[in-house]
């Protein structure tokens, strides 16, 4: 049906949309590129900062481990070179023995870091032994002392010179061939003991509880983004993120649970340098190597040079202190930056949207204003030319007309000559009509408004046209309840309606014309929809309908619709083509919409 808001060919709006899209895309592209660059720089800076802090962290922890060992070593040396032990060596009485045991007990109690403190004689027999017992140091009774002659640490330490320290691998304490439960991560430090004659008399051994060291490392790493790991020379975890994978080398059934097996590439990189930083499988590794034996040897560097195969071999024993940031944590590091950038980009996008829309609109408005100005200038020039032409053309046409009529009187009754004359008269009429219409179109439009009922006007214009119509059967209908009283120029609006009706009548016989009146926005606007059920318009006709001098009729100037548009616009209204709509199975014809302020003038 006819009701409802007509769909419009809103070309200016489409122009705005296209320009908006172009400007917005360009601006968005630039800002996205800038945002991406910012993000990359930010990520780089953050990564660099992270690498730095990781480096410092790992270095500090490596220093801490070394320092810790040095403290143990100094305790060891104090005990080994102290007067109490020397007294025992000089005179092995139960008193001197219990004096040493008491000294050992005291150290164990105060330090709380040593699981066992022992003195072994040169045969490997325990002479004094204190067990820490979880906080209650106990001097082991003489009959419970064992021979450790066959143990590797006895063998190794027996070959060291004075002042040299043996340091065992970091492992779990084994008692009577079984891994002690709960497990006790242990490092044994031992140093040979000589009497005043330089005779080798045995060794002092400290079982250092590594738990403390490991806890210390874990605590320090708690507020770091990475996991701290301590690996032994074979790539097994001494400390790692997964407790069940720690100390796997101690168990024959867990040999495959090593860092070296899980991260072979990273392990290879860890092995080729003492210190470094690299990325592998998306994670970040920072590592330092701790050489316990070397640290202790350096400590004793002030002493006479120390030789000895065992110590030299041990000096290659190393721990790798590694801080590992897994891929997901790495991503998490840069996520806040990404979020910030995205927020910023979002805000900028909104802003750019607004700016683009504004720019697009002003561009289109500017273009339209320019076109209007050009059109106005053109019309003014044509108007001036037409006004100048008007008088002379009318006089010339009058002369021509007069001549024709005078000639007709003198022709006699030669029908052929009269026929020719009629042709000239036709041409004369056509010329006259053309001039009049062009003049109409060119002269300035100055409406003289009065109260006009457009419904009545439409009716009377239709009736006038019907009087000239030769073919019968035309149908005319007025629809809509809107108030049709408008303050307009009666002659001009009559001309507009006449033009539209004439077009409809020319398009079909019998013709059917409907005029619907509606209220439109803004308030006080009257909308007229003039529809016919003729053949309608093709695309070209739709585009060029309001163009001056465009016509599909053999007669006529093609100014009718252009003039109509000027007249409507002079009233502050607009006229345009609506999308045609079909009603039932009838194809729709042309639908012209006029929107007119009821009082604009």
């Amino acid at each position: 049906m006819f009701s409802g808001k007509p769909k419009l060919f809103d070309f200016p709006q489409r122009g705005v949309a296209v320009r908006f899209a172009l400007i917005f895309a360009a601006m968005l592209g630039i800002s996205a590129a800038v945002a991406a660059a910012l993000y990359l720089v930010e990520v780089r800076l953050q990564t660099a900062a992270l690498r730095n802090s990781q480096r410092q962290h790992v270095d500090a922890q490596a220093d801490f481990v070394a320092a810790d060992l040095k403290l143990v070593a100094s305790d060891l040396m104090i005990l080994a070179e102290g007067k109490t032990l020397a007294a025992l060596l000089a005179d092995r009485t139960s008193d001197s023995r219990s004096n040493l045991a008491e000294e050992f007990r005291l150290v164990a109690q105060q330090k709380r870091l040593y699981d066992q403190l022992r003195f072994l004689d040169d045969q490997g027999q325990e002479a004094v032994r204190v067990n820490f017992q979880g906080g209650e140091p106990l001097i082991v009774a003489e009959n419970n002392l064992q021979s450790k002659r066959d143990r590797y640490y006895f063998q190794q330490t027996s070959q060291l010179g004075k002042g040299e320290i043996y340091i065992s691998p970091f492992d779990l304490n084994v008692e009577n061939g079984q891994i002690e439960q709960p497990s006790k991560p242990t490092i044994r430090l031992a140093t040979p003991v000589f009497d005043s004659l330089g005779q080798r008399r045995g060794m002092v051994i400290i079982n250092y509880l590594g738990t403390n060291l490991l806890k210390q490392l874990e605590r320090a790493a708690a507020n770091q983004p990475g996991h701290i790991m301590l690996l032994n020379s074979d790539g097994f975890w001494l400390l790692g993120p997964e407790p069940q994978k720690q100390w796997a080398f101690m168990y024959s059934n867990r040999q495959e649970l090593s860092f070296a097996a899980e991260f072979p590439k990273a392990w290879a990189q860890l092995c080729i340098a003492d210190r470094g930083q690299f990325r592998s499988r998306g994670g970040q590794f920072t590592f330092s190597t701790v050489y316990p034996a070397r640290q202790l040897r350096d400590r004793s560097a002030t002493r006479p040079p120390v030789a000895g195969g065992a110590a030299a071999a041990d000096s290659d024993y190393a721990w790798k202190l590694v801080s590992y940031i897994p891929p997901d944590r790495m991503a998490a590091q840069t996520r806040p930056a990404l979020a910030n950038i995205l927020w910023l980009l979002g805000a900028v996008t909104l802003l750019l949207g607004g700016v683009s829309w504004f720019l697009a609109r002003s561009l289109v408005a500017q273009r339209e204003a320019r076109q209007r100005l050009i059109e106005q200038q053109r019309l003014a020039a044509i108007g001036a030319a037409m006004t100048a032409l008007s008088h002379e053309s009318r006089n010339a046409l009058q002369r021509s007309q007069s001549g024709l009529e005078m000639l007709a009187r003198r022709l006699g009754d030669n029908p052929q000559l009269h026929e020719l004359l009629a042709e000239i008269q036709d041409a004369q009429y056509h010329l006259r009509d053309l001039y009049e219409e062009v003049r109409d179109w060119a002269v300035p439009v100055q409406p003289r408004p009065e109260e006009v009922d457009l419904r009545q006007l439409a009716q009377s214009v239709w009736q006038q046209l019907q009087q000239q119509r030769t073919s019968p059967g035309d149908a005319f209908q007025l629809r809509g309840e809107a108030d049709t009283i408008c303050h307009v120029d009666r002659r001009m609006m009559g001309q507009v309606l006449r033009n539209l009706f004439e077009n409809a009548l020319a398009a079909a016989a019998p013709a059917e014309v409907t005029v619907e009146f509606q209220d439109a926005a803004p308030p006080g606007t009257l909308r007229l929809i003039i529809a016919d059920w003729g053949p309608g318009l093709d695309d070209e006709q739709r585009l060029r309908l309001f163009e001056p001098f465009y016509t599909t009729k053999t007669h006529g100037t093609g100014l009718g619709m252009a003039i109509s548009r000027r007249l409507v616009e002079a009233h502050g209204g607009r006229i345009f083509l609506a999308e045609s709509e079909s009603e039932g199975n009838r194809a729709a014809g042309a639908r012209v919409v006029i929107e007119l302020p009821r009082r604009s003038l």
Binding site: E392, S400, Q401, S402, G403, E405, R409
Partner: protein, 198 residues
Amino acid sequence: MSAGLKIAVADDEALIRRYFVDILPDLGHQVLAAAADGRQLVEACTSMPVDLVITDIRMPEMDGIEAAVEICLQCPTPIILVSGYHDEDLIQRAGQTHIMAYLVKPIEKADLATAIPLARQRFEQIQQLEVETGRLRQSLEDRKLIEKAKGLLMKGTGLGEEEAFRSMQTISNNKNQKLVEIARQILAAESTIDHFRP
């Protein structure tokens, strides 16, 4: 009624003048004068009475509207203007005189065939209306005089209103004079008597 009019035409173009001279007789009219400007037209109309004037507006010496005004001052005549101009000022000026039609060039025989009788008819209607207006004005004047005389009569003789009026009518019938004449005589007599009153 409007057949066979005596028409004066004016146009600065010779061909157009010839056209009128040629065509108007076909419509049963007689062209008394064909003037080339407004001055000539006024002179022609002064020298002999015409039934209708057809004139161009823009002409040398005196334009068509000025000429029309002058002609109508001497003797009311219907005027048809024929012009190449079609602007509001001219139409406004044209409205002021006895201008019966305003035709925009180019015109043809058919235009004249309808415009001339129409102009003449409208002119005659206006003339008739003017005569009628004059007659009504006169009878209003007469009525006033009769009333005044009747008043005098009532005062002088002591007659009632009806009797005074009836006696004036009787005098009018007896003397075979109009009632207003009798009233005038009564008033004249009264003013003469007044003159001699102390």
